[in-house]
């Protein structure tokens, strides 16, 4: 099986080299058969990598410990579910998985666009295949998952060996989210290859207009959605499993995943500038380039050990490969840009500071500033070592100081931006659109202040959250009321109709609302508190309104670990609310212990109890309790963001043509009803092929 898998990978590599070569030759000679064969080879790559991946999964399922990768990441006792997930638990498997996902994206792309866009697709095929080649080089020559265990004797013969059992999967990874989180994140990282390929293809081929943006909008949203979901799942895993009471620590690996998401978010917004007004063409192209390169940089940071991280990834030798690939990408992008930059000339100018355009510009500026700050902070040890010769790292205060104001400003723009008109917004329309949402926000702030909402940032966050929510509600209401008046539907089906007529716009609002929920959850961190105590059965701890009474300490064995568990009776106002069972698990195979946090989560707050272990001297159990307000809002917000993203992917339903009654519909209302704001109609023609 391992030989079969290896050969499949070698063949895949050959095919993808062929795709690149035949594609380039096809672009030069315009020979249709060459181009067709390149496409077919691209599809073959996907089949071959699928076979290789299936082989590795099969080897995991059949406990073939002669394979170094299987022996290192699985054992006989491991549950079947986790045996499959062990595929992406280590470096070699992750890279194979990465390759496989890329090939799946590629094949979907090739099949969906077969016979379409003859000018653009050959370039796209070559670029995607080029990236695929790089990963296959790693899979085949550098970090093959199909290496067998063995030693070389003095005479050069190879002695193969298979241990009786594997070393098992890191127990920290034996958690459902940890099974879903990496694939989601990889789907994000890998997915940005497609918009990157289109942008580069359009630039190289001097493809006219904004078509590449229309073609990649859904791809970008998919990648962006997966990336965001991956980040949140990772945060939730850190929160629920690592037992330090938080979900985000500005660790280099976390930062690596956040950076492409930030630039991706900037890109999703700035493309609208190009679609509607023909501006920011250079910016957009570079945003995609940078997003893609940040994805590669993310992997480099994660895998190379340049920056130390709490994530126990092995430092490995693949760093130089990624650095090399990054430099090649950068060189290709710079050359393509310098050669064809005249094609990216802007068609319009900025007309006013108070306009949709400027809100997008500020949105982009601030997202990029955030990304730059994160990058700077992450690479600070490396940079300072170059400059001063001393490694200096910066901690969470640096990231928080910069990113909290940025986040709040973004939240403000989220409310303001969508309601500003293109080109220029008049003062009275500002007052009409923002008057009562702003009043509502301030009122909420005034009410919350005496209730103990006394952290400045948290208070601003609350005011802005209410403000943004009200602007979103007013947008839906305004549009729905017009539809109700004209089509005679009830209010809720009017909202549905409105949304389905312009899913991109209203899906966007849903995403914004999800972000508001996430911000509320993040603001809750300003009010976190925690206590830690040595306990024994009968002892009590107080945190906030809760009294934790330890009932018992018990030990119980499970399939591949032994658990020590504390039973905690949670009381409030003398009433027993519930029992919590924080646990410590000992995994004999890996000889390490893991923590199972007990969380009681409500919309108001999380009660988070960790059994931190025994005090070495007194041998008494140590219990650490946290009270984290509003954390649940983050996860709920994440779900809303995902739903909004899915909504934005659904094609628009064409509105039924209804004659307009003169004088009833105001300009604003008409804007809510037209699928695209004024000036976009002529550009919409392209979208028919989307």
């Amino acid at each position: 099986m391992d030989v079969f898998g290896s050969f499949a990978l070698i063949l895949a590599f050959t095919c993808s080299v062929y795709t690149v070569a035949a594609g380039i030759a096809g672009i030069r000679t315009r020979h249709p058969l060459l181009l067709k064969s390149a496409t077919q080879a691209g599809i073959a790559v996907c089949l071959l990598i699928t076979i290789a991946t299936a082989c590795l999964v099969y080897l995991f399922l059949t406990d073939d410990f002669s394979l170094a990768y299987v022996a290192g990441h699985s054992n006989r006792d491991l549950e079947t579910f986790y045996k499959v997930a062990a595929l992406w638990s280590g470096q070699e498997g992750s890279l194979l998985f990465w390759s496989w996902l890329l090939s799946l994206y590629a094949v979907t792309l090739l099949i969906a666009n077969r016979g379409k866009h003859p000018e653009l697709m050959p370039y796209v095929t070559v670029i995607v295949a080029g990236v695929q080649c790089f990963f296959l080089i790693l899979n085949v020559f550098v970090a093959s998952p199909f290496q067998v265990l063995g030693t070389t004797a003095a005479d050069g013969t190879v002695q193969l060996m298979a241990p009786a059992d594997g070393r098992g999967l890191n127990p920290l990874l034996q958690y459902p989210e940890m099974v879903i989180h990496p694939p989601m994140l990889y789907l994000g990282y890998v997915g940005f290859t497609i918009p990157f390929a289109f942008a580069l293809a359009a630039l190289l081929g001097r493809y006219p207009g904004e078509k590449w943006i229309h073609l990649t909008r859904r791809w970008t949203m998919v990648a962006w959605g997966f990336q965001g979901l991956g980040i949140l799942l990772g945060a939730h895993w850190a929160y629920a499993v690592l037992g330090w009471g938080g979900y985000w620590g500005w660790d280099p690996v976390e930062n690596a995943s956040l950076m492409p998401w930030l630039t991706g978010t900037a890109f999703l917004h700035s493309v609208m500038m190009q679609e509607k007004r023909g501006m920011m063409k250079v910016w957009n192209v570079w945003l995609v380039f940078i997003t893609f390169m940040l994805c590669i940089l993310g992997t480099l940071l994660t895998r190379s050990g340049i920056v130390s991280s709490v994530h126990a990834f092995a430092q490995s030798t693949i760093g130089p490969w990624f650095t090399g690939f990054l430099l090649v990408c950068l060189a290709v992008c710079v050359v393509a840009y310098l050669k064809n930059r005249d094609y990216l000339r802007s068609e319009s100018q900025l007309d006013s500071m108070v306009s949709r355009e400027s809100s997008f510009l500020f949105n982009n500026l601030i997202l990029l500033a955030s990304c730059f700050a994160v990058l700077w902070g992450t690479l600070f040890p490396v940079i300072s070592e170059w400059v001063q010769g001393t490694k200096i790292s910066v901690g969470p205060p640096f990231f928080n100081k910069v990113n909290i104001p940025i986040g709040l400003f973004l939240l403000f723009l989220t409310g303001v931006g969508p309601l500003l008109a293109w080109r220029k917004t008049s003062t009275e329309s500002l007052a009409r659109n923002f008057g009562w949402p702003l009043a509502g926000g301030l009122l909420a702030g005034a009410l919350a202040w005496p209730l103990g909402f006394n952290d400045v940032y948290a208070l601003i966050c609350l005011i802005l959250s209410v403000f943004v929510t009200l602007t979103i509600v007013s947008e839906f209401t305004r549009g729905a009321l017009v539809i109700r008046a004209r089509a005679g539907l009830n209010f809720f089906s009017s909202v549905g109709h409105l949304t389905m007529r312009n899913t991109r716009r209203y899906g966007g609002y849903v995403v914004h609302f999800g972000m508001v929920l996430i911000f509320i959850g993040l603001a809750g961190a300003a009010f976190n508190e925690d206590v830690q105590n040595e306990v024994e059965p009968g002892s009590r701890m107080e945190i906030g309104p809760y009294t934790l009474e330890v009932q018992s300490l018990t030990s119980r064995p499970a399939q591949n670990y032994t658990a020590e568990r504390v039973t905690v009776d949670v009381r409030r106002d003398g009433q027993s609310l519930m029992y919590l069972y924080p646990e410590r698990r000992f995994y004999p195979v890996n000889e390490i212990t893991g923590t199972m946090v007990a969380i009681h989560s409500t919309l108001k707050e999380d009660l988070y109890v960790v059994y931190a272990g025994r005090d070495p001297e007194s041998n008494r159990a140590v219990l650490h309790a946290y009270r984290n307000p509003l954390v649940k809002w983050i996860w709920l917000g994440g779900i809303v963001v995902v739903l909004g993203t899915v909504l934005g992917l659904v094609p628009n339903r064409q509105p039924v043509v209804v004659l307009r009654r003169a004088g009833v519909v105001t300009g604003q209302d008409a804007a809510a009803l037209t699928p695209e704001p004024v000036g976009a109609q002529q550009r919409r023609v392209h979208e028919a092929t989307d």
Binding site: I10, S66, Q349, L365, S393, G395, K401
Partner: protein, 152 residues
């Protein structure tokens, strides 16, 4: 004209953020030294927040009331560390693990750590035999001598 306004506004934002970043960096910057470098820099490092990495010397972990003492080693040099932080030490904190300690150095040379990170990276990636894994080059016949319990 409009462009100039926008540039001005952007500059104000970026300068503000830069200033915030500078304050944040000053507040949290930590110098990373190897044990050897730390011995060389002398007293000037004692006012700085430091981060030092090394392997935990086997048998050196001593759990005392309110603190944990241990020794980390790196390239033949060692450093005595006292951990005084409130968080319990990570599960990965065992003999031989790689540890990253953060804190300050006392005038007597002892390192007082408020944070300890530990990882046993080698644990999951190493060959069970303790020797580096050997992968037979692709496409070459794999010699499987008698006595090998490898399934074909």
């Amino acid at each position: 004209m409009k462009r100039a306004k926008f540039v001005m506004a952007s500059a104000v934002i970026l300068v503000t953020l830069g200033w915030l970043g500078y304050i944040g960096a000053m507040e949290s910057k930590t110098y990373y030294y190897t044990i050897e470098e730390l011995e060389k820099v002398g007293g000037s490092a004692d006012s700085q927040r430091l981060r030092v990495g090394g392997d935990i010397q086997a048998g050196s972990i001593e759990r005392l009331r309110g603190r944990v003492d241990f020794v980390i080693e790196q390239e033949g040099r060692s450093l005595r560390v006292s951990y005084v932080g409130t968080d319990p030490l990570p599960d990965t904190f065992v003999d031989g693990a790689q540890a990253l300690v953060e804190g300050k150095r006392m005038p007597d040379g002892r390192f007082v750590a408020e944070k300890v990170q530990a990882k046993c990276a080698s644990k999951y990636e190493a060959d069970p035999s303790g020797k580096p894994g050997y992968g037979a080059p692709e496409g070459q016949p794999k010699a499987a001598p008698a006595g090998s319990d490898r399934k074909s």
